[in-house]
Symmetry: C2
Subunit: 564 residues, 2 copies
């Protein structure tokens, strides 16, 4: 028959990894059956009760340390509880020894070069600690979870004003200047930069990049909620902008679960503006294309790593670090760029084009459906950007398919050309047996009628050199009439986006590049293992001997806050 003994240490605090180790050490002692060392929060008390480890009437609350031992006899139980201080002290000595500052300011005096503050204290204290760090002009790595969403928004707003980064809350991993923050894999330095709202996503990609022989420049976590509507991708946008300017980064990987639609659009615009190849991996999101100009869309973490390594190796695209985005025409406001009018006969081609450009152009209308696309109220009249499948019933009722009878499309082309908002008219020419014998001729004739400055005509030619119309001959005839000719849909989509998509708003206060400096110095407040990790990977860390403010007394804390 075993018995239960316990001890309460009011207002004492230890981080959860330390407590877990203490608990394991206690349970391993002779005569001890089971042990617990926890902050006595309600949840923890419930867990203890479920394991039959909750003594009655401990009187311990959320800010008290509760030690429980179940042992074979009273001697063993008492011996275990007596060993606690020794076990805790051993841990302290084993760590970094001597003096430990008790506050952030103390730590910063000890390590004034610290650009980073790592925060992993319990969630309800975390925002406050992070805010103090920002006020002292330090970047924040915020591992803590259960930080209220409003606090995240406020912290990131403050950070943006000051040109600082807040990675998190609930940010599990980062690699900065060669050092790991939080959970991080040891990977060689290299040309792949990562921005991720997903901790294990970053870790899996970084590990795979390393396995494939490439390396990682920096990996920046954002926290899982960063890409929500409310937070708006604040940290991810800063991260993309940093890696854009970072000369070491040749390829960027952007990884997360699917972001909010508006946030996805902003991120993709920013990704394009980096002027570097960006591999986008939004898990579970229908990829708009495989490649779209400088963007590549991955179907998973390993795929993202493989694409990034391939792009980093090819070096096809010159890095334009620091400069403006390479392919972005900088004349004119978004509206002055004019509208897309795509008049397609091939339904699947129209659908693929629609999906490819939908995340980049707004408002976009169509008689086909895709996420973020608005219906055409009047099939006979385009509004905004429009992708129209002229093979759909509303156009073909009582008529031949446009692949046979070009008249309907040519009429519509004249109409679109007459609209002064139209900047780019795009058509498809699907050749082969059964199709019109010479679609390029009719098109060229109509184009000659409607040409005007500021209006581009482009065509996607689908066919082969053996087709009765000969694809190459049709392409040449179109090109001779001034039509921009493409033979692959992704190239068309990239052209549309380059010509017509608005550039992103640049960040008001860019984060200085020294955020990514080698061997970062950091103040660590919370889980000691995170400081150990920084030190083990070439950085420098000072551990704050953090305790809950006012000994965990919430009322006293509120009074102190008012006095400040």
């Amino acid at each position: 028959m075993s018995l239960l003994r316990h001890q309460v240490r009011h207002g004492a605090y230890a981080d959860s990894v330390v407590l877990m180790q203490l608990q394991a050490n206690l349970a391993a002692l002779d005569g001890v059956v089971d042990a617990a060392a926890v902050m006595a929060t309600r949840t923890n008390r419930e867990l203890l009760a479920a394991s039959d480890l909750l003594p009655r009437n401990t009187g311990a609350g959320a800010d008290d340390l509760l030690l429980v031992v179940r042992a074979d006899n009273a001697e063993a139980a008492d011996a275990a509880l007596a060993a606690v201080d020794g076990l805790l002290a051993r841990r302290h000595q084993a760590a970094d020894g001597d003096y430990r500052p008790k506050s952030l300011d103390g730590a910063l005096k000890l390590l004034p070069s610290a650009r980073w503050v790592l925060v992993s204290v319990p969630g309800r204290y975390a925002a406050d600690v992070a805010r103090r760090a920002l006020e002292r002009d330090r970047h924040v790595f915020l591992y803590s979870d259960n930080v209220p969403l409003d606090d995240e928004v406020a912290l990131k707003r403050l950070a943006a004003e000051r040109g600082l980064l807040v990675m998190g809350p609930d940010c599990g991993t980062a690699i900065v200047g060669g050092s790991g923050l939080g959970f991080a894999n040891r990977v060689r330095r290299g040309g792949v930069g990562i921005v991720g709202a997903s901790g294990t996503g970053i870790q899996a990609i970084a590990s795979r990049v390393h396995a494939l022989g490439e390396g990682v420049s920096h990996a920046l976590g954002t926290g899982g909620r960063d890409l929500s509507e409310k937070v708006g991708g604040a940290t991810a946008l800063q991260g993309l902008d940093l890696l854009r300017r970072d000369p070491e980064t040749r390829v960027i990987v952007l990884v997360s679960k699917p972001p909010a639609a508006t946030v996805a659009a902003r991120l993709l615009a920013a990704a394009r503006a980096t002027g570097k190849p960006v591999v986008v991996c939004f898990l579970g999101w229908p990829p708009p294309a495989r490649r779209l100009g400088p963007l590549a869309f991955a179907a998973g973490l390993d795929d993202a790593a493989e694409l990034a390594v391939k792009l980093a190796g090819s070096e096809a695209k010159p890095s334009s670090a620091g400069g403006p985005a390479a392919e972005e025409p900088d004349d004119g406001s978004p509206d002055e760029r004019g509208q897309l009018r795509a008049l397609f006969g091939g339904g699947t081609l129209a659908q693929e084009l629609l999906q490819a450009v939908a995340p980049f152009l707004a408002p976009l209308h169509s008689n086909l459906k895709a996420p973020g696309v608005e219906p055409l109220d009047d099939p006979a009249r385009s509004r905004g950007h429009a992708v129209i499948d002229l093979g759909e019933d509303e156009y073909t009722a009582g008529r031949l398919h446009p692949m046979l009878d070009p008249a309907l499309r040519l009429d519509r082309l004249r109409q679109e050309a007459a609209d002064p908002d139209t900047a780019l008219i795009l058509v498809d020419l699907v050749l082969g047996d059964g199709a019109h014998a010479d679609p390029a001729a009719g098109l060229a004739e109509t184009i000659a009628e409607v040409e005007r400055p500021g209006l581009e005509l482009a065509a996607l030619v689908v066919g082969t050199d053996e087709d009765p119309q000969d694809a190459a001959a049709q392409s040449e005839a179109l090109a001779a009439s001034g039509v921009t000719v493409f033979t692959e849909l992704p190239a068309v989509a990239a052209h549309v986006v380059e010509r017509l998509a608005p550039p992103p708003e640049p960040p008001a206060n860019p984060v200085a590049l020294d955020a990514l400096a080698d061997g970062p110095a950091a103040v660590n407040i919370g889980l000691e293992i995170f400081g150990d990790g920084v030190a083990a990977t070439g950085g420098e860390a000072v551990q704050v001997d953090w305790r809950p403010p006012a000994g965990g007394n919430e009322r006293l804390r509120a009074i102190l806050d008012k006095l400040r």
Copy 2:
């Protein structure tokens, strides 16, 4: 001032391409301003009215041919109407000359070797013509649209009973034995077989495969509704099964807009069962992975063609044409294969695994969300196949993350192992600074406790050789304990699907391979250009001089149907 003249030919019929050409010829005559040659359906009459080409009180109905001419003067108008018969006759002579059978049976007497009947008559007659073709044991290429969905289901049921194919309705293209049916590009023969519910999708892929230097074995259209819930992918499944047995086909491409979820699952199971690499291109569908065993998921038409050509060139996977699926264990019913229980610490890894296996395993439960995945009612208890993210709040409340504290997961592992339904337990090990110092040790210990016949333990190890735990050492330790070790998520997902996904039901009446024989003979009923296309690409075609039954008189037709 122009004037309008018209002529009605009651019960006359001509196909829409012929009428379009007639109309263009009439409009080109001297003194003619505009002209129309249409079947006088309500829609066509409305279109005429909109072009100011509808005479008053013509008395013409849906089955009457209406000829209208707007001319500068009466002489020109009369001359144009008088020219109609000459223009129509010229067309007939220009085509295939002599005798034209008036019925399908007549055509089959003329060309008894015809395995195919091409049907492009107006929709309301098309099902009837197609049914007659099936009753005469011929495959059907059904271009006509506006065929009722119930008719499609009935036609495809009849076809399945007889081992025949119905491509369509609304099937725009196919390539069979080197000949094009409908709209088709001229592409070289090669190892890429295509099954598609998308006409221009097939054309774009076939053209691109040709441009990349490979060729097409056969391209089988299904019609756009084939992958709907109601039709159930009947033709697509037959197509996959045919290409599985076709020795020429080395790689299969499956292309469509997103199918109904249940149909997608059936198609993917059938695709795996081909034993050949299959490139899946469901436009706008979140790809479960980039590669999943023999399946590759494309992000667009060009991407699909490129993947197919790469796979056809590599020949890495030996073709097992005609045999059973290569990797499919054939022991046991689906249920006897047992259940997956994935216990993950990494949230994004869990999400990616979930999405990768979701189309293959049912019922699949998770505390994460994905299409087709059911929630876990009780987080503490698995049901069916289950993928569990143990890093989510319901598991970590008051505890450390499983990457730090393995205890929770090891408890759950014991629980799953004790469930006799569990066939495969899968865990992730995310290594690196900050993570547990030796997760493999605890896992190996627990595995030794729970081992039993019929239970496989597998692990995904994420980390590098430089990590403090050394990924290779952890993998070796696990392998030594009998754990199947993976380092890439797509390989894990493929393993799960291979072990646990049920095989597809084989078709009851497989379509005989001679459906794909070279230089097919065909009877063509409807658009003459389709017969021309077959003849121009090595096939043989007989044109039926089709007219609407009972001169287009619906009542008379119903009476005749009853008398048959």
